[in-house]
C-alpha cells in the first residue's frame, strides 16, 4: 500500500504538472491515520497530501459528477469503483476521453468506522479494476470460487414473513439522513424523487411504510447499475445492511438479463435496454 501511495503521488503530481488533468480525485489524511478523507487535488504541490492505506474505502467515482463537463479528471479507482466509472460513462455523465483512470488493484481494505475487513460479504470480491489507463500496482490474482452473492443465501432461505421481519427491523432504524444515496456514486440526481412535493412519493417523516417506499424505490433505481461497492452501507450511521438488498437486485438482474453492471463501457445498463427474447418467466 505504501507503494501504491507513492505511485499515486507521482502520477497525481505528473498529471497536474503536465496539465493532463485539471483535477485529481484521490485520498488524503483525515483527523488521524485510520480515518482518511476523499482528496480533491488541483495543485501539483498538493500531491504530497495523498495517502493510501487500507481505510481508503471511498469510491471516488462519487465525486466525478461534481465538475463541469469537459473537466479533465484523473480518478483513483479500486475494483468496484472502476465499475462505477464505467456506469457513469455508459450514462453519459462523464466522457471517457475526459478521464484518466488510475487503477488500484488492492485487497484487504477495512471499514474505518468498525475496523472490520471489507470482503465479499459487503462488497464485490474483485480486487482489480475493470477499466483503467494507468495501473498503480501489478494486477492481483482474482479470488476464485467467491461469489458476491453467497452472503444472500441465509436471507433468501427465509420465509416471506421472516424476511419482512428482518427488513422492517432494519429499516425501522432509518433516520432518512440520506447518507446512503449521497455516498452512492450512481445516485447523482440533484433532486431525488423522495424530496419532491408533486407528487409526494413518500412521506418525509420516517415511518415503516415511508422508509420502505424510499428504500425500495432507490433499490429499483440502482437495479442493473449498482456495482456493489458497499459505500451506501458504510455511510449509513444506523448500520442498515443496504448492501444485501443491492446485491440481491444485482444478482437477479444478472440472472435475468445476463449482464453485470459496469463491466463494459459500450454496454447499455439493463434497465434501459431489452431483448426481444427476454423470457416471460422472469415475471413469475
Amino acid at each position: 500500500m505504501i507503494q501504491i501511495e507513492k505511485r499515486l503521488r507521482e502520477e497525481a503530481k505528473r498529471l497536474l504538472e503536465t496539465k493532463e488533468a485539471a483535477v485529481v480525485l484521490a485520498f488524503g489524511r483525515g483527523f488521524d491515520e485510520e480515518h482518511p478523507m476523499p482528496l480533491i487535488l488541483r495543485k501539483p504541490s498538493d500531491a504530497e497530501k495523498i495517502v493510501f492505506n487500507e481505510y481508503c474505502t471511498f469510491n471516488m467515482a462519487r465525486h466525478l459528477t461534481e465538475f463541469p463537463p469537459g473537466t479533465k479528471i484523473a480518478v483513483a479507482v479500486k475494483a468496484a469503483d472502476s465499475r462505477a466509472v464505467t456506469v457513469l460513462i455508459q450514462e453519459g455523465k462523464v466522457k471517457r476521453e475526459d478521464l484518466i483512470i488510475l487503477g488500484i488493484p488492492v485487497a484487504g481494505m477495512k471499514d474505518f468506522r468498525s475496523g472490520t475487513a471489507i470482503d465479499a460479504t459487503t462488497t464485490g470480491p474483485a480486487v482489480n479494476p475493470v477499466l483503467y489507463d494507468i495501473l498503480l500496482a501489478d494486477l492481483l490474482p482474482e479470488p476464485k470460487d467467491v461469489s458476491p452473492y453467497d452472503v444472500l443465501a441465509e436471507i433468501e432461505a427465509m420465509s416471506p414473513d421472516d424476511r419482512w421481519g428482518f427488513w422492517s427491523a432494519e429499516f425501522s432504524r432509518c433516520i432518512r439522513c440520506y447518507a446512503c444515496r449521497k455516498a452512492c456514486p450512481l445516485c447523482y440526481c440533484e433532486t431525488c424523487f423522495v424530496d419532491q412535493a408533486k407528487p409526494r412519493w413518500s412521506e418525509k417523516s420516517p415511518s415503516a411504510s415511508s422508509n420502505m417506499m424510499f428504500h425500495l424505490t432507490r433499490f429499483y433505481h440502482l437495479a442493473g447499475r449498482c456495482i456493489d461497492c458497499g459505500s451506501c452501507s458504510r455511510a449509513c450511521p444506523m448500520d442498515i445492511p443496504l448492501y444485501l438488498f443491492h446485491k440481491k437486485v444485482s444478482k437477479e438482474c444478472e440472472e435475468m438479463f445476463d449482464q453485470a453492471a459496469g463491466m463494459c463501457v459500450d454496454a447499455k445498463p439493463v434497465m434501459v435496454d431489452f431483448k426481444v427474447e427476454d423470457s416471460d418467466d422472469i415475471l413469475l
Partner: protein, 652 residues
C-alpha cells in the same frame, strides 16, 4: 378546491340493472371537490349532453366526470361536449362503470361498491388534472394504399377520383388479387374479369395513382398526417421504363415454372406476366426458373428485346414516400388444405380446392374453361365440402362467410359444364346477402344434392365394388342421423379464408394489432370498423376478416372516405397528452433518450438535461417511468395524477 361535476349514466338498464346509480350519485356528491352529482338515463344522448353543458354553466364546473361506458367508446364525444361549454377537453374523466362493472359483476352490492371506488379514483385524479393545449400539424395530402386486390383498387380509385395522390403498393407483379383468379361471381354470375379489368385499367391510367407493383412496405415512421414510408421494390430484371409490353421475350423463353396464378395447374415461362390481362402489361423474370440465372447462360430474352429492357443486374430498390393516411387492404390467404390430411388434398388427384376450381372454369385457365380433372376426365360425380378449416374449433372458429355461396356457384357451373351429380356437404347454408337466398333456392331447383353434414374424411379405400376407383367421402347426414359413404370422382374443398402469411410483419410495420385469428383489429367492431388504434391507418377488406366482394368494395369506399377526412385537411389536431421535461430537476441520466422508440427526447449537453420533441412524442409515458427524478411529466397521466388515482381507487 376544484369544482367537479359527476354524471352517472344508467345506460338504460345496462348499468342501472346491477349498479345502484342513485347510491353512486349520493356517494359522489359527498366527495371533496365535487359540487354536483347527477344521474341520467343516457348521458351520451343529446339531452344528456345538454345536461352536462347546462351544469357546467350553472354550477361553474371546472372538471367533469362521466361514469358510464368505456372511455374507448365515448371519451371523444364527451370531450367535445365539455369543450363546447368552454372547458378544456382534458378536464374530463371517464369512469367505466359498464364494461368494468355492471356487465361483469352479478352482485348488485359488489358492483355498486366497485363503481363507488372507481368514481372516487376519478375524483382524486380529476382534482389534479390540468388543461392541455391543442397541437396542430400540417397534413400531407397524399395517401398510401397497401394491396391491390379489389379492395385496394377500389380504395385507390376513390381517393384518386377525389383528387388525392395515391400510392398503390402491391406485393405481386400484377394487381387484381384473388378476384382476378375468379371465373364468375355469385350470385349474379357476372364474369369476374369483365367487372374487374376495367378497374385495373383505370388504376393504370389514373393520373393521380402511382402504382408500385412487385413492392412491399418495409418501414413506416411518423404519425397521422405525416407518415414517412419506405417501399422496397423487388428486382424485376426487366426495365419497365423501356419495356413496351410486346411479350416477344415470353414466346422465346425456354424457362418454365408452374403458374401461381393458375394455382399450379398450368405452366408459365420464366419471363412472364401472370395472366393475359395483368396490369401492368409488362413481364418480370423469375430467377428461380430462369435458365440464365440458374445456369449462367441463355440471355435469349435480352437478345430478342428490341427495347433493351432486359437488365439481369437490376437490384431491389427503395423508394421513400410521404403520405398523410394509409389504407391497408392486404387481403387473405386460402387455408393450406394439405394440412388437413383427412380430406386427402395432395394425396388424391381428385381433390381440389376452391381456387383451383375457379381456374378450371376460367376460359383462360389451364383447361381453357373445361371442367375436367387432372387426368383429363370429366367427373361424373362431385362432392363440394363446406367449412374446411372454418367453423372448426381445431382450426378456425369463425365462419369464412363466402364458401356457401361460391359452393352454390360451383354447383351451378358444374351443372352447366358437365352432367355430373353434384353434392353439397354443408353444416348450415349461410346465404345472408342480397339475392343470396334466392340463388340458393335456384340451386335447389337445379338438381344439386344437399347433404347436411360436415364431411369427416375422404378416402380411396373402397368397401364395395361401386366405390372402386372412386373417392369416398364419409359424412354423417345430420338430418337423417345416418352415416354415409359417398363415392364421387371429384372432391372440392371450400377452405377457410385466413389472415395472410407474414401479417405479423405488417402488424409491426403499421402498428396495427392483430386479433386472435391474426386479422387486423378495428378500433370498434360496430362503430369504427375501418379505423385502427393507430391514427391515420385504416383497414378494409379481407385483412380485417373474411368477407365477400360487395363488402370489400363497400369497406374500400368507406376507408377512402375516412382517409380523406384526414388528408383533406390542411392541419390536424394532435393528441396533446405528450411528455415534457422539467429541466430544473432533470439529472441528465439520459434514460429517456435511451428508451424512446420515437427518438423524441434529446440530451442538451450545455444544460445537462433532456428535452422532448413533442412533435415526435406519442404520449406512451415510457420515458416518464424511466425518469428516476420524476422530471418527466407524461401529460394527462402525470405522476401526481396517477398516484392520486391510485389513492382514490384504494381508499374504499
Amino acid at each position: 378546491m376544484s369544482r367537479i361535476g359527476v354524471f352517472v349514466c344508467h345506460c338504460g338498464l345496462n348499468i342501472a340493472r346491477t349498479v345502484r346509480v342513485d347510491e353512486v350519485v349520493e356517494f359522489a356528491r359527498k366527495l371533496p371537490g365535487v359540487v354536483l352529482a347527477e344521474d341520467y338515463k343516457f348521458v351520451c344522448s343529446t339531452p344528456g349532453q345538454e345536461l352536462i353543458q347546462e351544469s357546467i354553466e350553472k354550477h361553474r364546473l371546472d372538471r367533469v366526470i362521466v361514469a358510464a361506458c368505456s372511455p374507448l367508446m365515448h371519451e371523444k364525444t364527451f370531450r367535445k361536449v365539455i369543450e363546447k361549454s368552454g372547458l378544456n377537453q382534458y378536464m374530463l374523466t371517464i369512469v367505466n362503470i359498464r364494461e368494468q362493472c355492471s356487465w361483469v359483476i352479478e352482485d348488485e352490492d359488489k358492483a355498486t361498491e366497485k363503481a363507488k371506488a372507481m368514481v372516487n379514483g376519478a375524483v382524486y385524479r380529476a382534482r389534479l388534472l390540468a388543461p392541455l393545449a391543442a397541437r396542430f400539424i400540417d397534413v400531407n395530402h397524399d395517401a398510401l394504399v397497401v394491396g391491390a386486390g379489389i379492395t385496394g383498387i377500389q380504395a385507390a380509385l376513390e381517393l384518386a377520383n377525389a383528387g388525392r395522390k395515391v400510392y398503390l403498393v402491391e406485393k405481386g407483379s400484377t394487381i387484381g388479387g384473388h378476384m382476378a383468379q375468379f371465373d364468375k361471381t355469385f350470385p349474379t354470375l357476372d364474369c369476374s374479369a369483365c367487372i374487374l379489368t376495367p378497374k385495373m385499367d383505370a388504376v393504370l391510367q389514373h393520373p393521380n395513382i402511382e402504382l408500385l407493383t412487385y413492392s412491399e412496405v418495409s418501414e413506416v415512421q411518423g404519425f397521422v398526417g405525416n407518415f414517412n414510408v419506405k417501399v422496397r421494390q423487388k428486382a424485376r430484371y426487366v426495365d419497365h421504363e423501356k419495356c413496351n409490353g410486346c411479350m416477344a421475350c415470353m414466346e422465346k423463353c425456354p424457362g418454365k415454372a408452374s403458374s401461381e396464378f393458375d394455382e399450379l395447374l398450368s405452366t408459365r415461362k420464366a419471363i412472364y406476366i401472370p395472366f393475359p390481362q395483368a396490369v401492368p402489361q409488362k413481364p418480370i423474370i423469375d430467377r428461380e426458373s430462369c435458365t440464365y440465372f440458374l445456369k449462367g447462360k441463355c440471355r435469349l430474352c435480352e437478345k430478342i428485346c428490341q427495347q433493351g429492357a432486359i437488365d439481369y443486374e437490376q437490384q431491389d430498390s427503395e423508394i421513400s414516400l410521404q403520405v398523410g393516411a394509409i389504407i391497408l387492404a392486404t387481403g387473405y390467404d386460402l387455408m393450406n388444405t394439405e394440412a388437413l390430411k383427412q380430406f386427402g388434398y395432395g394425396s388424391y388427384p381428385g381433390v381440389y380446392h376452391a381456387l383451383e376450381i375457379e381456374r378450371l372454369f376460367n376460359s383462360t385457365g389451364p383447361t381453357d374453361g373445361k371442367a375436367v380433372m387432372r387426368d383429363g376426365r370429366e367427373p361424373a360425380s362431385i362432392a363440394i365440402l363446406h367449412c374446411i378449416g372454418s367453423r372448426d374449433k381445431n382450426y378456425n372458429e369463425y365462419c369464412s362467410r363466402v364458401c356457401c355461396m361460391y359452393a352454390l356457384k360451383f354447383a351451378h357451373l358444374f351443372k352447366e359444364k358437365t352432367s355430373a351429380d353434384v353434392y353439397q356437404l354443408y353444416i348450415d347454408m349461410r346465404c345472408f346477402g342480397k339475392n343470396y337466398e334466392e340463388f340458393y333456392h335456384r340451386l335447389l331447383e337445379e338438381d344439386v344434392k344437399f347433404i347436411r353434414g360436415k364431411a369427416a374424411r375422404v378416402t380411396d379405400r373402397a368397401l364395395s365394388p361401386e366405390e372402386e376407383g372412386k373417392l369416398i367421402v364419409e359424412v354423417e347426414d345430420t338430418l337423417s342421423n345416418k352415416f354415409m359413404r359417398l363415392p364421387v370422382d371429384m372432391v372440392v374443398l371450400a377452405p377457410a379464408m385466413q389472415a395472410r402469411r407474414g401479417v405479423e410483419d405488417l402488424s409491426r410495420i403499421f402498428n396495427v394489432s392483430l386479433d386472435k385469428n391474426r386479422f387486423f383489429i378495428e378500433r370498434h367492431p360496430k362503430l369504427d370498423p375501418l379505423a385502427t388504434h393507430t391514427d391515420g391507418v385504416f383497414i378494409a377488406g379481407a385483412c380485417q376478416g373474411p368477407k365477400d366482394i360487395p363488402d370489400c368494395v363497400a369497406q374500400a369506399i368507406g376507408a377512402a372516405a375516412e382517409a380523406i377526412t384526414i388528408i383533406g385537411k390542411d392541419k390536424l389536431e394532435l393528441e396533446a397528452a405528450t411528455a415534457f421535461v422539467n429541466q430544473q430537476i432533470c439529472c441528465g441520466c439520459q434514460n429517456c433518450v435511451q428508451v424512446c422508440p420515437y427518438d423524441a427526447p434529446g440530451y442538451l449537453a450545455d444544460k445537462g438535461a433532456s428535452e422532448i420533441n413533442e412533435a415526435l412524442c406519442k404520449g406512451c409515458g415510457l420515458c416518464a417511468a424511466s425518469c428516476p427524478t420524476g422530471a418527466i411529466t407524461a401529460r394527462h397521466f402525470a405522476n401526481d395524477q396517477f398516484m392520486a388515482e391510485l389513492e382514490g381507487l384504494m381508499q374504499y
